[in-house]
Structures are given as C-alpha cells and as structure tokens.
Amino acid sequence: MTRFNAFAALLVVTLVTACSGPSRSTVDDGTAGAGAGGAASSGMGEGGMGQGGAMDGSAMGGSALGGPGASQENRVVYFEFDRFDVKSDYNAMLQAHGRYLSSNPTARLRLEGHADERGSREYNIGLGEKRAQAVRNVLLLQGAMSDQIATVSFGEERPAVIGSDEEAWSLNRRVEIVYGQ
C-alpha cells in the first residue's frame, strides 16, 4: 500500500513536469497523451478536442495528467478500505481533469466506482457510488459542470484484478475516469 502511494506520488511529480512541456504541441492532432503513456481512452477525440480557443495550457486536452489524453495512471483514483474520501495524492490530477472539463464545456466523462470483494454486494455498490460522488465533487470544485459528469457504481462486480489479498483489494477499490460518456 505505502509502496503504491509512493509510486503514485512519484508519478504525479513526473507528470506535472511533463504537462508544462512539449505535450501542448500535440493537442491539435487528437493524440494528446499518447507519448506520455500510450494509453488511449475510449472517448478520445470527443468533447473539446477540436476547439482551439482555450489558451491556458493546463486547460487543454494535451495533458497526461488530466483530460481525455491522461495516462492510464491518471485516470484512476484509489481508496482505503470502507472509505470514500479522496486522498490528497490525487489533488493535482483531479485539478487537471476539472480544468479540462471547465475549459471544454462539451466534454463529458463518466466516473465508474468500484469496491473490493469483501462484505455484502449491494453495500459495495453503495461504496462504489460514494467514491464516484466524492471524485465528482472534487471535479465540480475545479469548475466542471454537473451535467458533464455521470457516475455509475459497479460495486465488487468488475474487479480490475482477480485475487483475494491486500494488493488485489487495494487495486480494486477505485474510481475510473472514462471520457466520452
């Protein structure tokens, strides 16, 4: 767990550095972020990608930290057991997503909340929904509009990792950010 947090923190630092750099120039071709992570979101190309109006670099889709071009690592928020508060590790990343939404009013995303397998299934649906709502609230504070964000909870039904140990559980307690919904 601590190992993972350290990794996430390192990643945030790396990507904050990256987004002020050359990624800006890749916005217009719609492949933003591909160079940083190679991970393509299913919603790529939708929303505000074609708009050239936003001049603030942090608000554009080119960031690997936020927006549809965000790397895989920056499209997942992890949680503690039976908790749904968003850890401060995710501030920079969610700020970037929030600003992207705020600058691209036609952009849409969906927050998919999940829980680990322990305990009862419908209660875990509740936990997943609470987690998605918590991430949604952070994005709204960053200037996103409520109609830009949909939430869904899959509870423990769609694990990212199959397994019954602490590591698998920590990877399954998550909210996935999916653009283009």
Binding site: G119, R121, E122, Y123, G126, K130, E157
Partner: protein, 433 residues
C-alpha cells in the same frame, strides 16, 4: 434501440434453455447423527411408458441431503417389497433401519402416472403415512420431490423444501469475455435453467412471494437497472432505471411493492418503496449514509436495511409507511444484508468475525449474534422457506461456490458448479398450488 431489441431477442432465446452444468452437492458435516432409513426401489404397475426417472432414488437422495436421514444402500437390502403385504419388519430391524419407505409407480396411460407410497415405523411395525401423488412425464422429478417433502414432514414435523428452487448468479471469465447468468434450479441443483445471460453484471435476485417472478439488478445498459421477470414465460419488465444506483430489490409480502435502494440525483443511497402497479415511490430514509439491502418483516410493516450511519454498516429498521429508523444490530463492526427468518424471530446477516466475513443469525428479541459459517468471504445468506437451513455464497480456493448450513449450525453442505463462480443464492418460497 435496435441493439436492445437484439439483446432482448438473445435473452429470450436463451430463456428456459436447459444447461448441462449442474451443481454438485456434498455434505461436509453432520451426517453422523442421521436416522437410518430404507427407501426400497418403487415397483411398476400397469402398461404403458415406463416412468422417466427413478422416483425412489430421488426421494432417498433428498432425505440424505437433509443431513437428518441415512438411507440404506440398495445392494444391502435383504428384500425389496413394493406392497405392504410383502413387508417383513424383522429383516429391516436386523439391518437397523428405523423407517421403511416402499412404493409403486402406476402407469395411468399417456404421460400420466401416480406415485403411491407408504412409510412404516419399523420398530413398531406400523404404517405412518400412505399417499398417492399424481405425476406426468414433464413434472416427474418435481412430483418425486413432493413425495420426499411429505415424508420429511411426517417424520420431522417440519415441511420439506425438496420441491422448492434456488436462483443464483454464475460468472464465467475467459480472456475474451465475462459472462453473467441468472439461473434457477431445483433445490437439489438439478434442472438448471438460464433466465438471463449478459456480458455485464447481474445481481441481487429476489423471489416474488408467489414464487412466479424474480426481481434482479442488471447492468446490461452499463448502469444498474431493476427488472422483474416471470419464470414461466420469461417475459420481463424494467421497473426502475432512475439516475444513479437502482439496487437491492425486495418484494413486499403481498407482492405489490418492491423495497429498493436508489441514489437518484443527489447520489445518496436511500431506501424507497416502489409500487409496481402505480410506479409510485415512497422515500423511507434520507441523509448522506449508504442505506441499502432492504428486507421486509413478515407482516410487511417494517423494513430492515443496512446503513453506515454510524460508520461501519449495521442493520436498522424503519416502518414501511415511513418513520424514524432504529438500530437493530450492535455486536461487531460489520453487520449487513439482513434477511428475515420465516418465523420472523431472527435475521441472517453478513457479519465481520475477527476479520472474516461470515454468516450469522441475530436473535431479534435478545439481540444476540450466533456465527454459523466458517469461511473468510461468506455472503448473501438466504433462508429455506421452512427456516431450517440457510444457503449462502462462499469460496473454495479462489472459486465462488454455494454452501448450506442448518440454522443450528450443525449440518453443512458445499454446492459447486462444474465451472466458473457461483454466487448470490436466493431460496424460493414454498410452491403455490
């Protein structure tokens, strides 16, 4: 739209298709105190098509599976009487059988049969029960289970559940796809039928009080929606697809309403009742807590539910017409998903027992908790309609399997499918005639 119609067509095509994969049931604890009995192969009477199944074998297997009876092996029987006149009790006494069951299947022409059977107290040499159970080729297995139900009730004073059914969800994962199925099978795992199949999750099956419908949650639209499906016709209706979570359906005792958990616009999960005729919603809880997993009291006046209002999940109850919730469980830091016992005196819950998720029963009068299962990740308890047994989901290694435990904790069984995970068992009510 067209994609939905296609999906519906697929679902309907699948409906009622028989499955090869049956559940395998093994008694893991509790057979040593079973009463020795003998179920003699039933004779055949009349001309016509022989019966499709061995009725006596089904009856013997049912009684053995209850954990309360130990049938004598057929090959050890010294005689095989099929009428009362042929019975010599001294032979059965020597073999230690305390109860003797004999019978005849009468071929009544076409696909019609009659299962005639007699139950004897071997020690006293007396008949306890004699009965004729009509049957057809189609319902022969069900009719044999009815015979076992009647014998069980005569011998124990408790109505048998051999002719009831179990609904459950299976999941098969391949690298290419995940496949969820809602299945209904006989209580002995035979006759499994696929009700719905989907690449997206299916959850929370709940039987209507008349046993003719199931409510469940399906994510086939990539979000949770509640459906009600008729077993016989396979026809189904979407009854709740509101924004946010649509979950945890539970039928009112009169079958007119569902208690559900909805998050709607504000994102808070609260308990509502949904009138199935008028679609009218009544909100029963509010606030920022997770309120879910409703279960009706037997008289329909109260609804038990899970809430994390005080931090971890605990069971509360609220009047079904509205009022203030009261906490019900106090032992331990995790008590969730209540199910009311058929006598109304206990709740089955998922209980955190020193880090393990286990099935426990909470005595409502004394507020005491008794842990019944011994797994690490046990969940989804469901009472048999006679209250004697609970079925629940557990693990066998990494695989999801089902298990049963008697309400006194003594008799345990493991039920696994031939492949994939099995989860969320729901025991049907008694059949309505």
């Amino acid at each position: 739209m067209s994609r939905n119609s296609l999906l519906l067509a697929t679902l309907l095509a699948l409906f009622a298709s028989p499955l090869r994969a049956e559940l395998q049931i093994t008694i893991t604890e509790g057979v040593d105190k079973a009463v020795p009995i003998a179920v003699v192969p039933f004779g055949l009477q009349g001309m016509g098509t022989p019966p499709p199944l061995d009725a006596a074998a089904i009856v013997a297997a049912d009684l053995a599976r209850s954990g309360r009876f130990a049938p004598l092996d057929r090959k050890d029987m010294l005689q095989r009487p099929t009428t009362g006149a042929e019975v010599d009790f001294s032979d059965w006494r020597i073999q230690g059988s305390e109860v003797l069951i004999i019978g005849r299947v009468v071929q009544a022409g076409g696909d019609q049969y009659e299962i005639q059977f007699q139950v004897f107290d071997v020690l006293r040499g007396e008949q306890l029960l004699g009965y004729r159970q009509p049957a057809t080729t189609q319902n022969f297995r069900r009719s044999a289970h009815r015979v076992a139900d009647l014998i069980y009730e005569k011998l124990t004073g408790v109505r048998g559940v051999f002719s009831t059914r179990i609904a459950y969800v299976t999941v098969n994962r391949t690298p290419q796809r995940t496949n969820f199925r809602l299945i209904v099978a006989d209580a002995d795992g035979e006759n499994p039928r696929v009700m719905v199949e989907s690449p997206e999750p299916i959850m929370s099956p709940a039987w209507s009080p008349d046993g003719r419908k199931l409510a469940y949650v399906s994510f086939e639209a990539r979000r949770s929606e509640i459906y009600v499906q008729e077993l016989r016709s396979g026809a189904r209706k979407r009854v709740s697809a509101r924004p946010g979570v649509n979950g945890a359906p539970a039928w009112s005792p009169d079958g007119q309403r569902l208690a559900v958990s909805l998050s709607r616009q504000d994102g808070n999960l609260d308990i509502y009742t949904l009138d199935l005729n008028s679609q009218m919603l009544t909100r029963l809880t509010s606030g920022s807590s997770i309120d879910t997993e409703p279960a009706w009291s037997l008289d329909g006046r109260q609804i038990y539910f899970t809430s994390d209002a005080t931090g971890g999940p605990q069971v509360y109850r609220v009047p079904a017409e509205g009022g203030s919730p009261q906490r019900v469980t106090f032992e331990g830091n995790y008590n969730a998903r209540p199910r009311v016992a058929p006598d109304g005196k206990q709740l089955a819950v998922v209980h955190n027992d020193r880090g393990n998720y286990r099935i426990a029963v909470v005595d409502l009068a004394r507020s005491s908790t008794q842990v019944l299962s011994d797994g690490r990740l046990d969940e989804s308890p469901s009472f048999a309609p006679n209250g004697e047994t609970l079925i629940y989901a557990t693990r066998d290694g990494a695989r999801g399997v089902l298990a049963t435990v008697s309400a006194n904790g003594r008799i345990k069984q493991r039920i696994s499918a031939l492949e994939g995970d099995v989860r969320e068992p729901a025991w049907s009510p008694f059949p309505v005639n």
